[in-house]
Amino acid sequence: MKRLTPYLLILPGGMWLLIFLVVPMVFMASVSTQEGDIVNGFVQTFNVSVYGEALAQYRTQFLRSVGYGLVATVVSVAMAYPMAYWIAFRGGARKSTYLLLVLLPFFVSFVLRTISWKFLLADDGLLLSPLKSTGLLPDDFHILQTTTAVIGGLVYNYLPFMILPIYVALERVDPRVIEAAQDLYASKREAFAKIVLPLSLPGVFAGVLMTFVPMTADYVNAGILGGPANTMIGNIIQIEYLTNQDYPVASALSFTLMAAMLIGIFAYARALGTENVLEAAAR
């Protein structure tokens, strides 16, 4: 009985993950090699040519998504690091209050927050119209439907996921180690570059993991803030699944996306240790 306990505890949740996470991936692979249409039904033909065709057709959107994801990730790291640093080392007794402030926006649905940005950034909206009427911006200036708007939206929506793991890593740095470095005549800059930065890198890696993948697969920001020239692979997959109901193409695209992401993630996690990334992700 005692030896069975862990298995009994794991069983219900484990089955849930198996049936609804692992098995569906197999079904998705199967659907991607079917042929047919929604009216006449789909038949399993193990036709893999759909992969080549779909990728050729949507190569631009694929590459664009990865590009947006990369740029947004770099911007997020640059924005989040100083913030996490200040909260961890200068936040004092109010550390948890600052963290709470970073997390509170999550209580508003991210669709609603993104739509709020659409109102704010509209050509005659709250931000641009005063600047235009005072002549600070030309009348034909616009932000919506540009790459800037989409990447800005991505950074906005995922920034807290970057701040938290970096903060957790910085928080764990023992201040006495920094003092020791300074006692040994390291300048502030040297102490940062040689002590603080290397110790905080696992947090940065976890943050990159937590943000790059969902940003690359996102379609809400491109859908609300972007224009036709900003379509990402997520938008295509969503339209193919839910509007066109062309399931083979849709699942071939999402299977490719998943494979690309998972290979990247596991290579990344293997190099850094799954446990650490998991722990950082859970906070």
Binding site: P24, M28, P175
Partner: protein, 278 residues
């Protein structure tokens, strides 16, 4: 360490506090508040425009203050229904996730068993996979097996993506437990079952509660997986997405404000009690 303490430490270490660093600190603090303001800007817009005396359907320019929309909150029955659906789904998903996740957390934190590595890997995959792919593969499963998507499939999906977070939160708490307390209970003649409910469970409860809160927040906010698994069922985020083209009525702002207010109240209460506990 506070600013003052570090300044004291610096002085003790020999040199006076350099004014340049002080300025840098202040700039950094200003930057932190700027980012926080940026994070809250669209939320402020949401709250304020719930009071906008707008005439047209597009609620984008300020027309003056009114409380009218608060009295006409139920003007869109489908919106009200969507909000209630979101709450129902979140409650049910949270209960299931919390039970399953707590059991998993206990197993992972307390026992060593065959398949532990695989379990960790799957939990990790559930966090790391893009929502889009999870939603798409679930839809593939439901299409292939002829399951009609709707309320139940949304709950299934929500349990799926929040399970890992609860399991990991509980596991962290379980690992941090002082086992000697449990041993003491057993030495005093308590059965395994009694020990669990009277000793272990109260000690892991804070982890269970924060896991449950996280699951609830993830569920009520979710859009992507819900869109793939909902069929014709509407949730709050789905209704908003559908209404984007025709203009968002102020009632949406009010519903968003109410959910935000409740969430903030719970989060603040939780962090205050957590601070008192430690």
């Amino acid at each position: 360490m506070s600013v003052r303490e570090s300044a004291v430490a610096e002085r003790a270490a020999g040199g006076p506090a350099r004014p340049r660093t002080r300025l840098g600190d202040r700039l950094l603090k200003a930057y932190v508040w700027l980012v926080i303001a940026w994070l809250f800007l669209p939320i402020a817009v949401m709250v304020v425009f719930g009071f906008n005396d707008t005439r047209s359907k597009s609620n984008v320019t300020w027309q003056g203050f009114t409380l009218r929309w608060w009295t006409r909150l139920g003007d869109y029955p489908e919106l009200t229904e969507a909000v209630f659906n979101s709450l129902r789904i979140a409650l049910l998903a949270t209960v299931i996730t919390t039970v399953l996740g707590t059991l998993m957390g206990l197993a992972l934190g307390r026992h060593r068993f065959r398949g532990q590595g695989a379990t960790n890997l799957v939990l990790f995959a559930a966090i790391a996979s893009p929502e889009l792919v999870m939603g798409a593969s679930l839809l593939s499963l439901f299409i292939s097996t002829g399951v009609d998507t709707g309320f139940v499939t949304v709950v299934v999906a929500h349990v799926l993506f929040s399970l890992s977070f609860v399991a990991i939160t509980v596991r962290a708490r379980v690992i941090g437990l002082d086992r000697s307390v449990e041993e003491a209970a057993r030495d005093l003649g308590a059965s395994t079952w009694t020990t669990f409910w009277r000793v272990t469970f109260p000690m892991i409860l804070p982890g269970v509660v924060s896991g449950a809160l996280l699951a609830f927040a993830l569920s009520i906010d979710d859009f992507v997986i819900t869109q793939f698994t909902s069929g014709t069922v509407q949730t709050f985020p789905l209704w908003i997405w559908g209404a984007t083209r025709n203009g968002i009525p102020p009632q949406v702002n009010i519903m968003g404000t109410l959910i935000f207010a409740v969430g903030v109240a719970i989060a603040v209460a939780n962090s205050v009690t957590a601070r008192r506990r430690t």
